[in-house]
Subunit: 217 residues, 2 copies
C-alpha cells in the first residue's frame, strides 16, 4: 500500500493541530484521495474505526506505523556523497521517524573523513564491512549512473534486500530484492509532456488529433 505513508503524514499533521478524531471524509480530503478508497485501505489493517464517529487519530497512527514497520528502527546507508547525497544526509524527514542514517560512503578519497550531518564519510572500499557492522537494511544509491550497478551488486551481495536508487539507470537485481527509483529528470519530463498537451500538442492539428485518443497519464 503506497498510500499508507501519505495517510500517516496527514494524521501526524492533524495530531499536531490537536485533533483527536477524524472521519474518513476529512482524512481523505487531507490526503488527496477518495473517501471510499481510504476506508477500504484502512479496513485491510483491521477495523480501527468507530461507526458514527470516525477514527481515533493517535490509535490509527500507531496501527499504520506498525503496519509500515516504523515501530522498529531501520538502518540506512547512503552511497555517493555528491550534491544529492549531502541533501539526503541532511534531510530531517529520515531521522525523525524510524530511519537511522548509519553511514555515508564515497569513492572519492578527498571526501573521506569529511563530517556531514554528524557522520564521517568512509571510503567505498569499506562498504561490505560497514553494512555488516551497522546491520544496514536499506541502501540509498546516490552515485553517478556508471557506478550504480556495481555498487548495487556489492550491496546486494552483502545481504541488503531494499535499495532506493537515485541514479538514472534501471538496476538489475535478483528476485527478493526491492528497488525503488527516484528520477528527478523523469518527473520534469512528465510535467513537460502535460504542459505541451495543454498548449495544444507538439505540432500541427493533424498530429494533435491522434493525441486526443492517447491514454491519459
Amino acid at each position: 500500500m503506497a498510500r499508507l505513508p501519505v495517510y500517516l503524514r496527514a494524521l501526524h499533521s492533524l495530531q499536531d493541530r490537536g485533533i483527536a478524531t477524524v472521519s474518513s471524509e476529512e482524512l481523505a480530503a487531507a490526503a488527496g484521495v477518495n473517501s471510499a478508497k481510504l476506508r477500504k485501505d484502512l479496513s485491510h489493517l483491521g477495523s480501527y474505526g468507530t461507526r458514527g464517529v470516525g477514527y481515533e487519530v493517535e490509535y490509527l497512527i500507531y496501527q499504520i506505523s506498525r503496519e509500515l514497520g516504523l515501530t522498529q528502527d531501520w538502518v540506512v546507508a547512503i552511497i555517493g556523497v555528491g550534491n544529492l547525497g549531502r541533501a539526503l544526509a541532511g534531510y530531517g524527514g529520515f531521522a525523525s521517524r524510524g530511519f537511522r542514517m548509519a553511514s555515508l560512503l564515497d569513492a572519492d578519497p578527498r571526501l573521506v573523513g569529511e563530517r556531514i550531518a554528524g557522520i564521517d564519510v568512509e571510503h567505498i572500499d569499506r562498504l561490505e564491512t560497514v553494512i555488516a557492522e551497522h546491520g544496514v537494511s536499506i541502501a540509498v544509491i546516490a552515485t553517478p549512473a556508471v557506478a550504480a550497478q556495481e555498487v548495487c551488486d556489492r550491496v546486494v551481495a552483502s545481504g541488503v534486500t531494499s535499495v532506493l536508487n537515485f541514479a538514472p539507470i534501471v538496476l538489475s537485481v535478483p528476485d527478493g530484492v526491492d528497488v525503488r527509483k527516484v528520477d528527478l529528470s523523469i518527473e520534469l519530463q512528465i510535467l513537460a509532456f502535460h504542459e505541451q498537451r495543454k498548449a495544444g500538442g507538439p505540432m500541427g492539428e493533424q498530429v494533435e488529433r491522434e493525441y486526443v485518443e492517447a491514454v491519459e497519464l
Copy 2:
C-alpha cells in the same frame, strides 16, 4: 505516458553504444517492462517500427522527444535553496535535455546574491517578476513544508501550470494545474514496509495471515 521518459533514457544509452536498431524485446528488457506493453505504448505514437527488424533508435528518440515536448526548451525556476534545492540546481540531468534552469529563489536574505551552479540566488519577493521576465513554465518547490502552499499559490497565480513538489505536504491547486510530488521519506517507508513483510510481518502469525491477502504494492 509516464514510461516514455524511461524508454527515452534506454534509447539514449543504446545510441551511445552505437546501436542503430533495436527490437521491442531488447528495449523492453533495458527499460524493465513487458515487451507487449512497450509495443503498445509506442504504437500510440504512430507506427514507427519495421516488422521483422525493430525500431530505428535515432528516429524513435526523435519521436519520443517530440511527444514529450523535449524538442522545445522549458524554463524552470527552483524555489528554496536548501540542501535539496542546491542538489537540484547542480543536477546535470536537467540542463542536458530541454530544461533550462532560469532562476533560484529563497526567503533567506543571507542566501540572496550567492552564486549556485552559475545562477545568482534572488529573494522570494521577486518571485512574480522573475516568472514573468524569464517566462517560467515549470516551478520546482524545494522549500520547507510550511512555506510550500503559499509559494505554490503565488506561483500558480503568476500563470505557472506545472509544479514539481519536494515538500512533504499535499498541495491544493485549481483545475488545470499539474502537480507532481517527490517525497523521499515516503519512498523509504515503502521499502521498510516490504522489508518488514519479508521478515514475516509486524508481530504474531495471527496478524501475518491477514497480510498474505493484503494487496501487493
